[in-house]
């Protein structure tokens, strides 16, 4: 039996069974749900009449005004509402000539619906299309990305919101490849709609509604804090409230009353304290949620993406953020107790002066022009780190595609991958200049942790580099890890190509 067959057999054999307690509860709830539906259906009896009447085109045309009101009752019945932090998610089936309000309150029954409350309708012409209501202020725009996921579609919508505001389109025909549509609703919200199974008769719609203000980074704050010292007779600023940027000194009497310290810190709005630990110098969180995302994260994470990732984060981190001498510092995504979301990065530690310097920026709503300012503050080094991670990950995919077509054998050299890079619309010149390829002779049967390639230009700066592995994941290798793997020592990579130095 081949090793892969053995693993397949083991995974297939995996089995979890519901115990009596879970079984009883699940079935009881499912049963209760069917009973609720029956009651709702009985209460919405007149709907059936409306549906029957509306199937006749003549009636549809002559009863347009009544249709709007009736359609709401049809539309809201099957809506499923989930609270996704600040966004709302819904789904329903839309039928031809049915009007629908995409805004959150519109998705629930209104006492007195008005025609202007509605945003879209389903147009049966041309095989079916999502159409804005005639004469409304609603704007609609198709997402051109091929089969993006939800996060990708939402990011696209946010970054194209100006284009959406100027859109003159009134109808969008969905395809299997491009099912997403952005809608600026009658209430000025941004709805990202996914259309499935569209026919002349109707379609399934799923949509998320969020504020039409684009989350952007606020200005970068660079802060220096003194390490917290209980013996310091003249306490210095050692803590920070990240939401307001306020620096805080902890009074001696607070330090001394160890019982009340945490309560004092929380009441004072402290989110982080500069600290010295066995692991090194850095910051300790106070009720702060943070995740280290690697050196490329500072420049490579969009405000929309960061907010999406952190909005539902809830687990507080206990380990400190530690400064790593002579290395690129990780970008740390964080969320404060007050819900402020941002990115933080340590910059320097001065042990002789007992200080730690770091910078951070918060995700904020509706800050026109701020994103450009913030982006301009990213140095070329950070942009380069973000680009490196993206490109090396793409390269891993190119190498994998080649192996797929060659019985699992990875390419013998970079040159043979040129054709694949071009097929995948990747810049081969960047690959030739920057990639240290060590995949020659390796196969798809090698362990997933087998190194395939790394960014040799980044490596030349001596602070570590990004690498991609056989299982497709890319990660940052610290200088120690680089040494362990012998990268850049002449034993691997492309000795024929001289690495291009990284300019800080």
């Amino acid at each position: 039996m081949r090793p892969s067959e053995r693993i397949e057999k083991i995974v297939k054999g995996m089995s979890f069974k519901a115990g009596k307690e879970m079984d009883g509860r699940l079935w009881a709830d499912a049963l209760q749900a069917t009973t609720r539906v029956e009651k709702t259906r009985a209460a919405l009896g007149p709907r059936r009449i409306w549906e029957t009447v509306m199937k006749r085109k003549a009636v549809q045309l002559t009863a347009a005004a009544m249709l709007l009101v009736a359609a709401l009752a049809v539309g809201v019945e099957t809506l499923r509402l989930n609270k996704l932090d600040k966004a709302y998610a819904f789904s329903t089936r839309i039928r031809a000539n049915m009007a629908l309000d995409l805004d959150p309150k519109g998705a629930l029954p209104l006492a007195q619906p008005r025609p202007e409350d509605f945003d879209v309708t389903w147009d049966s012409e041309g095989g079916g299309a999502l159409k804005t209501m005639a004469g409304s202020t609603v704007r609609i725009l198709a997402c051109p990305y091929i089969r993006p996921d939800w996060d990708g579609a939402v990011s696209w919508a946010y970054t194209n919101i100006e284009k959406l505001k100027e859109s003159t389109a009134v109808r969008v025909i969905p395809t299997e490849q491009n099912p997403f549509v952005a809608v600026l609703t009658s209430e000025g919200n941004l709805a990202v709609v996914k259309i499935g199974g569209g026919t002349e008769v109707g379609a399934w719609l799923s949509w998320r509604v969020d504020k039409s203000t684009v989350p952007q980074y606020g200005p970068v704050q660079t802060v220096t804090l003194h390490f917290a010292d209980k013996e310091d007779t003249a306490p210095q600023e050692c803590a920070i409230d990240l939401d307001t940027g306020r620096l805080i000194a902890i009074p001696l009497q607070v330090w001394k009353s160890s019982d009340g310290l945490l309560a004092w810190l929380e009441q004072s709005g402290v989110d982080a304290i500069a600290s010295r630990t066995d692991g090194g110098y850095g910051l300790n969180g106070v009720g702060l949620i943070f995740w280290a995302w690697g050196p490329a994260a500072w420049a490579g994470t969009s405000a929309v993406g960061l907010r999406g990732q952190m909005a539902s984060a809830s687990d507080q981190s206990r380990t400190p953020i530690v400064f790593k001498e002579g290395q690129y510092q990780s970008g740390c995504a964080f969320k404060t107790r007050e819900g402020g979301i941002g990115m933080l990065q340590l910059l320097a530690v001065d042990a002789s002066r007992s200080t730690v310097q770091f910078r951070y920026r918060l995700v904020q709503e509706d800050l026109a022009g701020v994103a450009a300012t913030a982006a301009a503050e990213d140095t070329s080094s950070e942009q380069r780190l973000a680009e490196s991670l993206h490109r090396i990950r793409q390269f891993g995919l190119i190498a994998f595609m080649y192996a797929e077509k060659h019985d699992g054998q990875y390419a013998s050299s970079l040159e043979v991958l040129k054709e694949y890079a071009e097929k995948m619309e990747q810049d081969y010149q960047w690959i030739a200049d920057n990639v240290g390829y060590v995949g020659a002779g390796k196969t798809a049967r090698d362990p997933g942790s087998t190194l395939i390639a790394y960014d040799k230009a980044l490596l030349a700066a001596g602070k570590g580099t990004h690498a991609v592995f056989r299982d497709g994941h890319a990660e940052f290798l610290t200088p120690d890890e680089v040494r362990e793997r012998g990268l850049g020592s002449g034993s691997s990579g492309n000795p024929a190509t001289t690495p291009k130095p990284l300019h800080d």
């Binding site: 995974v11 995996m14 115990g19 307690e21 879970m22 995740w291 984060a313």
Partner: protein, 178 residues
């Protein structure tokens, strides 16, 4: 499969017996899928709960033409994905609520599993989400690569690639342990 077609028809007509049969038939398979994706008994139970409650409510608009098991597994995978998105970078762990399957179903037991299943599930937790999803949906939910590819909005060859990556990693984790 014929039974499934019959069950779908009866379920759509409002038959509680059909719903119960579907529930009994796929409960454990879907629980396995949820556990493999989440490696967390509470989260898996929540996901299974949401899927069956929503499914039970959807009888009148239920118009599935394809594979019922695949459809339910897709629902589980989507719910699991939502949960994982909220808890990124923090793989869960099996807990005391998963009892070893000794053939005795104790009154407080919520989930039963063999030791091997627990080990495989823990190994699964170390895979990237997208690879784990392909492996589980293909092997445990018996979905085709085409169906998984559609769910993940990727090409069939990428789905196959993820599957192979996932198996390789599982092999390296489980080698010597099983």
């Amino acid at each position: 499969m014929i039974e499934d077609e019959w069950l779908k028809l009866r379920f759509k007509a409002g038959s509680l017996d059909a719903l119960q049969r579907i529930y009994q038939k796929y409960r454990d398979c879907l629980l396995t899928v949820a556990m493999a994706l989440l490696n967390d008994s509470h989260a898996a139970e929540d996901v299974l709960h949401d899927v069956f409650v929503t499914f039970a409510q959807s009888a009148d608009r239920f118009g599935l033409r394809g594979n019922l098991k695949g459809y339910l597994a897709t629902c589980v995978a989507n719910r699991a994905k939502d949960r994982l998105r909220g808890k990124k970078h923090e793989p869960g762990s099996l807990d005391a609520d998963v009892a070893l399957d000794s053939g005795l179903d104790g009154p407080g037991t919520r989930i039963m599993a063999t030791e091997q299943s627990r080990m495989v599930s823990e190994a699964m937790a170390q895979l990237p989400n997208e690879q784990r999803e392909v492996v589980v949906l293909h092997l445990n939910a018996e979905m085709t690569f085409r169906e998984v590819a559609r769910l993940q909005s990727i090409s069939v060859s990428t789905a196959k690639g993820r599957y192979r990556y996932g198996l390789e990693k599982l092999r390296s984790i489980l080698d010597g342990r099983l």
